[in-house]
């Protein structure tokens, strides 16, 4: 049997505030993502989705349980991983093209080659003309696109994305989804995709994992049997899609009670 790309086994994560208050963000959470699988995670806000991604990257070790990436326990940051942060994390002192070129440069690529590659990605995320703008001169959605290009350019084998498209308009979002699917199918990357948009989750993923409200654990898992390549815009109207959507929706509804 192939080792899974990501294997979280029975992990919990506690946060203790300086005042001594304990918040349990994840409880006995297990998740396996196979190589080449596209896994979407949905769940109520604050249920521990970002925390989960943080554990996979190694930025944020679990309190208990084991996290493995390609069969290896996670001890440091794996260069195979790409991570699109939920919050803004582009470098404010670098302009668009330098921000995008930084990954390859970190990984030892020649500077001018990296810039050429970055120029290509600037175009792909629709920022042509803004190469020399600094992040503070961009709109929120444009900054997000810089972050996406920054991650995509590294062609990571594991791609973690934390609500990557929520700041984008529908059209740009569709474009970025296509880029993502292209990258994914081309490189057979494993993707963990956090979103609040259930339809987006279904349209993109092989499997949708629904988390229970915090402290999060897996509530249910849905395999998405839609054929690939999918036409995202069309798939949306099939009965299968609508059924799945309704089911997940009701799953989630149970979780949120204010």
């Amino acid at each position: 049997m192939k080792t899974p790309a990501i294997d979280l086994n029975n992990v919990s994560r506690k946060f203790v505030s300086p005042q001594g208050k304990v918040t349990l963000a994840l409880r006995e959470f297990s998740l396996t993502v196979n190589e080449g699988e596209f896994c979407a995670i949905v769940g109520p806000t604050g249920c521990g989705k970002s925390t989960t991604l943080g554990m996979i990257t190694g930025l944020n070790p679990p309190s208990s349980g084991s996290v493995r990436v390609f069969g290896q326990p996670v001890t440091g940051i794996d260069p195979n991983i790409g991570f699109v942060f939920q919050a803004d994390a582009v470098f404010p002192w670098k302009n668009v093209i330098d921000n995008i070129a930084i990954g390859p440069i970190y990984r030892g690529m020649d500077k001018s080659a990296a810039k050429d590659k970055a120029a290509d990605w600037v175009r792909r995320v629709g920022l042509a003309g803004f190469e020399h703008h600094y992040p503070h001169q961009l709109s929120g959605g444009m900054r997000k696109r810089v972050a996406l290009a920054q991650t995509f350019i590294n062609e990571p084998r594991i791609l973690l994305m934390d609500e990557p498209f929520s700041a984008l308009d529908v059209q740009t979002r569709a474009l970025m989804q296509d880029e993502l699917l292209g990258l994914w199918s081309e490189r057979k990357a494993s993707v963990v995709f956090v979103t609040h948009d259930i339809e987006e989750a279904i349209a993109l993923a092989d499997r949708v994992v629904v988390l229970s409200k915090g402290p999060g654990s897996v509530k249910s898992t849905y395999d998405i049997p839609l054929a690939r390549p999918r036409d995202v815009a069309e798939a949306r109207y099939t009965q299968q899609f609508i059924d799945l959507s309704k089911q997940i929706w009701s799953d989630l509804k149970d979780e949120v009670q204010v």
């Binding site: 506690k14 946060f15 203790v16 300086p18 304990v22 309190s63 208990s64 440091g76």
Partner: protein, 289 residues
């Protein structure tokens, strides 16, 4: 600086086994730090003593740790030429603390006021720059003329040592305040004053605290320099006397006394900092560090 503030963001006290492991790791780290600190001190002092023994260093100028230790013992048991050591220390401390407080408060007030008011800062900041270039020794004699030979002139010297550092940081801290937060406060209905106190000041706090760490040492230096220029009591006088009598051990012993004071102040400042900045995330623990 605040060595103990940043906890391992991973394991924090709890009930699990791996949490105990994390606590153990933290304890280990602390032990390691303590060991290295002591080791460093021991090695330095040992090398010093040894170099003197070997006649590579002239004890006439550099004294030697054993002689310094003896000098300290003598001062502690028999007092100094001017009186008991703690009394001398008290005098210097009083000047230092007063100078530190006054200079700190002035620095913060001016820094924030100028940081918040562009016209004022455009007009005044060059004069503050100019003032900062005045040699403190010269100021010392001017202060003696203005404030007399009493505590006033020493406090004033400590103030001018502290002021500029705190001012500079407070000023810049204000300018670094997040524009979005300021805008949000205005929109939520804050007056300019309220923005200053509830947004700008907290934002600038880490800047201000950083400058306070540095400037306590400066306040000490200011007080001591003031005492050099004429005083009846104080560690500065102790140093001046020791220098005047070629008592190198005395000079170093007095510096050790100052060092102890500085460390005590550092400890208090760190405690204050932890209280004031308790809203911040614990420091990021990086892999491989």
């Amino acid at each position: 600086m605040h060595a103990m503030t940043s906890a391992d963001s991973a394991g924090l006290p709890g009930d699990g086994g791996e949490e105990r492991a994390a606590v153990a790791r933290a304890v280990n780290h602390r032990r390691m730090v303590l060991f290295l600190r002591v080791a460093l001190a021991v090695v330095t002092l040992g090398a010093w003593e040894w170099a003197v023994e070997r006649q590579w260093l002239d004890p006439f100028f550099f004294s030697r740790p054993s002689a310094i230790y003896e000098q300290l013992l003598t001062w502690l048991s028999e007092g100094t030429a001017q009186g008991p050591l703690w009394k001398e220390l008290l005098v210097t401390m009083e000047e230092t603390v007063l100078g530190f407080l006054i200079g700190g408060v002035l620095g913060i007030v001016f820094g924030i006021a100028l940081g918040r008011n562009k016209l004022m800062s455009d007009v005044l900041s060059i004069y503050i720059k100019v003032a900062n270039a005045i040699p403190r020794v010269v100021l010392g004699s001017i202060f003696i003329i203005m404030f007399g030979l009493g505590m006033g002139s020493k406090v004033a010297l400590a103030v001018v040592m502290v002021f500029f550092v705190v001012f500079g940081n407070a000023f810049q801290g204000v300018r670094e305040a997040d524009r979005n937060l300021i805008a949000n406060a205005y929109i939520l209905g804050a007056s300019k004053r309220q923005v200053t106190f509830t947004v700008v000041f907290p934002s600038a706090l880490s800047w201000i605290l950083a400058s306070l760490h540095v400037s306590f040492g400066f306040a000490l230096v200011g007080a001591v320099v003031g005492e050099f220029l004429g005083a009846r009591h104080g560690i500065g006088l102790l140093i001046a006397t020791a220098q005047g009598t070629f008592n190198a051990a005395g000079v170093f012993a007095a510096m050790i006394v100052l060092a102890v004071v500085a460390l005590a102040a550092e400890y208090l400042l760190t405690a204050l900092e932890n209280r004031l900045l308790k809203w911040r995330p614990v420091q990021f623990v990086e892999q491989g560090s």
